[in-house]
């Protein structure tokens, strides 16, 4: 537990993490102001005509369509979680602080597990908190300009499930990045490798071999995020199977990184 809290404090001290949180908070504030100003003086009927209008509270998440205002932030949270995770793990190698920590806790697997767990917990909590703040920033637009009509228990439940699910995906992105950065011992590798894989390799596979699309990270993550089968994929997988696929991919990468961390020397300038 000590190690876990220590690792969390270390992660929160990373400048990149703080900057990313600050950017997200500014974004939330900006979204709230825009939502409030943009829909002033409009009738409820007019507001309802705009698809996904945040001043209409039921648009925050439409369970039947698996979309809503919340969808806007999902991608950014995933990216933010990934970048923060890569930075937290990569910077330890660049600064050499990993050596210092290992002279206090030499059991590498234990340390690695504590770091991944702390990263996952932090990413989940921060993602959850940011989504709550984002939604809270839209409340003035709903209260003063819009409507909360149609909001009931099932709406709140669906909303909570979506927020929690997005937070889990953010946590997965963070530990994926931490694992890649640990295996390669730097931040840049994790970011570039992920970018190259998602954009270049998966782009090529999607074009040349569309039948494999359902196995790709992009489709898998999108399916889990929206929790609905994709129409665009030839052989689309359901959300549960996609979640299992995602977990399997993660397990392989986490396992590989753990073995690499356990076996390789912690050499100078590594």
């Amino acid at each position: 537990m000590n190690l876990l809290t220590t690792e969390m404090r270390r992660a929160l001290h990373r400048r990149a993490v703080r900057v990313l949180i600050a950017i997200a908070l500014v974004g939330c504030g900006f979204a709230g102001i825009v939502a409030y100003l943009a829909f002033r003086g409009k009738t409820i009927a007019r507001l309802r005509l705009d698809e996904g209008n945040p001043a209409v509270m039921t648009n925050w998440w439409i369970a039947d369509d698996h979309v809503g205002v919340l969808s806007v932030g999902m991608f950014f949270l995933f990216l933010g979680g990934f970048f923060a995770g890569a930075t937290v793990a990569g910077a330890e190698w660049r600064a050499g602080t990993i050596t210092t920590v290992l002279t206090w806790e030499p059991r590498r697997l234990r340390l690695h597990s504590a770091r991944l767990t702390s990263g996952a917990v932090l990413a989940f909590v921060i993602s959850f908190g940011l989504q709550v703040i984002f939604l809270a920033s839209l409340v003035p637009a709903v209260v003063f300009n819009g409507t909360a009509e149609g909001v009931d228990g099932s709406f709140w439940l669906n909303l909570a499930v979506v927020v929690a699910r997005t937070s889990v995906i953010t946590a997965a992105a963070a530990i994926l990045a931490m694992s890649l950065a640990t295996a390669a011992r730097n931040t840049a590798f994790a970011v570039i490798a992920m970018f190259a894989w998602i954009v270049v390799i998966e782009g090529l596979i999607r074009t040349l071999k569309p039948s494999l699309s359902s196995w790709l990270w992009g489709e898998t993550v999108t399916t889990v995020m929206s929790w609905s089968r994709l129409d665009t994929v030839e052989i689309a997988r359901g959300p549960l199977m996609s979640a299992v696929t995602l977990a399997a991919y993660l397990a392989v990468i986490i396992g590989g990184a753990a073995i690499s961390f356990q076996r390789r020397d912690i050499a100078a300038g590594s």
Binding site: R9, H13, T100, L102, T103, R107, R263
Partner: protein, 242 residues
Amino acid sequence: MSPVAVDGLDLTVPEGGVFGFLGPNGSGKTTTIRCVLGLALPTKGVIRLFGESVAEGLREAVQRTGAIVETPALFPTMTARENLRLLAAVDRIGPGRVDEVLAIVGLADRAGDLVKHYSLGMKQRLGLAAALLKDPDLLMLDEPANGLDPAGMREVRQLLRQLADDGRTVFVSSHVLAEIESTCDRVAVLAKGRLVTHGRVLAAAGQWVTELRPDRFSLEDVFLELTSTADVSEAQLEQVVA
């Protein structure tokens, strides 16, 4: 095939006192320390700390060991006190001990400053403070005087002596002979990854005499004779070792 960093090193460090680990740059000092601390895994051989095999009881051994490996790496955006408290939390060491070690290394007045504003010498002292946090039985210090000015070097020397006089074992690696000569009770000399010689350093009649080579009157003489030879051949080294 990767080069051999340390080869056939057979060395016992006695309990108590300051043990100097000498060698030119690239001789394998840091690699040896890394192996002892479990940061690097030797391809073969056995390392024992406090009589127990490191491979089996590393955690217990490390708990009794304070270490600086190369440059002390701490969080630049935290204060010295925050850095030490963060490390202390791993072993549930109280904040009182943090202030104590900051005072020992002479950083009590600057404990609230961010580490990024520290000079190299101050970072070195902070590293030493971190190594002392656990109140260790053994201190393994890799080039602890790096970046220190003459006054700082003297303070560190005095501190190491004091720690040894308190019953701790201090293992110091360095290529600065004056530092080793005036601080250490025993030394080992490493060259090209191999132990060239080891023995006591004695102060006698105002001169430093070593039992390594009694015909030489300073550690520098011995050191230079044994290692100066950047172009020393394997055959020559074999001869020295023999």
